[in-house]
Amino acid sequence: MTVLALEGTGGDWHLHLNGDWSLTAMAQIEAQLAALPDSLHGTLACDWSRAERPGIGPAWALLVRLSGFSDRQLEIRHVGGPPHYLEFLQKLRAERHAARAAPPPEQSLERSVGKLGQWAVLQGTEARAVIGFFGRMISVYSGLFSRPMALRPSSLARHVYETGITAVPIVSLIAFLISVIVAYLGAQQLSRFGANIFVVDLVTISVLREMGVLLTAIIVAGRSGSAFAAEIGVMQLNEETDALRAMGMNPIELLVVPRVVALVISLPLLTVIADAMGLAGGGLLSLVNLHIPLPQFLSRLRESLSPTTFWSGLIKAPVFAVLIGMVGTYRGMQVRDSSRELGRLTTVAVVQSIFFVILADALFAVLFVKIGF
């Protein structure tokens, strides 16, 4: 359908606007406006008499297109009952045209060097912010020794409940299943040597030293690390943290420390539960699949344990807890301005805390081998 028809010769042009001129027809209108010739001379009469439901947007697009013709070469009139707001739009358009500035020239080399510099500066400020955050946290912690009530028992209890007790079912289930899988796969290999009984050693050592604590830490990073980042992030967006600061309270003391301390309490406890469930899973599989009776499983378990096996797993839990808690709360405190930032930083919190947990676990593994722990 033609919404535009240009007629005339020489210096006398007529532009007929036909049919639907509302926003609905915007796609056709813009295509046909673009198809108008690049330059016209003389006079142009825009005839609105056959335009139906003329909209503000289409009228604006027409004005923009017409202003593409130089004023000196073409005299434009609007006839046939133009919409009542046309004059208003013309005025706005004239103001805008004067105000519009040319876009700054871009130079690609300059820009890429600039980008690199911006990135470097960003990394620098980020590093400084992280150090500052840890510093403030440590100063709050050292203050805690002189006034332990600043730890806020009620808030601490809430976070221990949310990060620890509510995580018990999922941690138990996953520890149980993973240990069943390890025992099952291990048994398939070991049975070829007639060494079924060593499944018990495999399960005991792998669960107690590594898997119990590592799985728990990863689950907690996913559950609580993200929750910390999101909770504190929303408080940032609502200016709640600013309100706390303005009332003379320290958001780190109020929001960060209880969460980190709660995690340091609950993660080791969850690890113990995961260890127990893992051993239970191993025991069950041994009984059902390998026909090792429970008393035999337990006595073999005792033999395979060295005094440090249990502790070498558990000792890592508070370290992981501090890492997860710090990363989650720090990323939450970084949220500024928009809901997209909140989503991005929550993701970053989970990914980074899992990364740090695994990195720390690797360092522990090397350390324990070196000192024979």
Binding site: S22, L23, T24, M26, A27, E30, G55, I56, G57, W60, A61, V64, H84, Y85, F88, L89, L92, R93, E95, R96, A99, R100, R336, D337, S338, S339, R340, E341
Partner: protein, 259 residues
């Protein structure tokens, strides 16, 4: 322009809103005629925003009927309903701009959703809406968090105008603005009202805005609405209305408007 005999743009009759045992509206009636600026006032907790949400279809009322352009909102098929929703623009109390999009993208969001137009045209339309509300072109590339309170209100208005509505709902458009920005907003509203022939329904506590812009005002008292012109309300003997329109602030605003 307004013809009292024509179909009202909005007709609310016998509206009942309840939250548990708390009754907010108890048989509220309201009519808005084409091309008027209708102000809704009432004390805190009298259900101004609840009324607005009910009219917009964001909340199902417990009773009564709501008609927009003579059609019952709740009995429309979803296609008609969508068309109806596009025929009005809304600004929310805190702007409710999408925080991860720039102002220009906020304006383009509804356009892009409903009309398949090119990037260039979208930019032109964003420019148009910025110009309509008196924002400079640079404002388009800013994020909502980088704007001042007054600019957020204007940007929200620009987004509400993007689909070229004939009916505009404003929830406390001047709340939180300094008197100069608020006066400028009143002026803008009057200007757009006269240029684009809009019907405006606005909730406001700002007495200056009320006296400067509104042709009629509805006061929510005891779960019902008393609508009248400002002069009529000034004569009204209801105790709450008397307190509202004869308090020290109201007298000053009235003097300003008439003097």
């Amino acid at each position: 322009m307004s013809e009292p005999t024509s179909t009202p743009v909005i007709r609310v009759s016998g509206l009942v809103s309840r939250f548990g045992t708390q009754v907010v509206h108890n048989g509220l009636d309201m009519e808005v005629q084409p091309n008027e600026i209708f102000g809704i006032v009432g004390g805190s907790g009298t259900g101004k925003s609840v009324l607005l949400r009910a009219i917009l279809g964001l909340r199902t009322p417990e009773g009564g009927s709501i008609e927009l352009y003579g059609k019952d909102v709740r009995q429309l098929a979803s296609a008609d309903r969508s068309a109806l929703v596009r025929s009005y623009g809304v600004t929310f109390q805190n702007g409710a701009l999408i925080s991860s999009l720039t102002v220009a993208q906020n304006i383009q969001l509804p356009l892009l959703e409903y009309y398949p137009v090119s990037e260039r045209t979208l930019d032109e339309l964003a420019e148009l809406n910025l110009a309509l509300v008196g924002l400079p072109p640079e404002a388009g590339s800013k994020y909502p968090s980088q704007l001042s309170g007054g600019m957020v209100k204007r940007a929200a208005l620009a987004r509400a105008l993007a689909l070229e509505p004939k009916l505009l709902f404003l929830d406390e458009p001047t709340a939180g603005l300094d008197p100069i920005s608020a006066a400028a907003f009143d002026e803008l509203l009057l200007y757009l009202h006269s240029q684009l022939r809009l019907t405006v329904v606005m909730i406001t506590h700002d007495l200056d805005t009320l006296f400067q812009t509104c042709s009629r005002v509805g006061v929510i008292v005891d779960g019902r609405m008393i609508s009248d012109t400002l002069d009529g309300l000034l004569q009204n003997q209801n105790p709450w209305i008397r307190d509202y329109f004869h308090g020290p602030r109201a007298r000053a605003a009235e003097k300003e408007a008439h003097g």
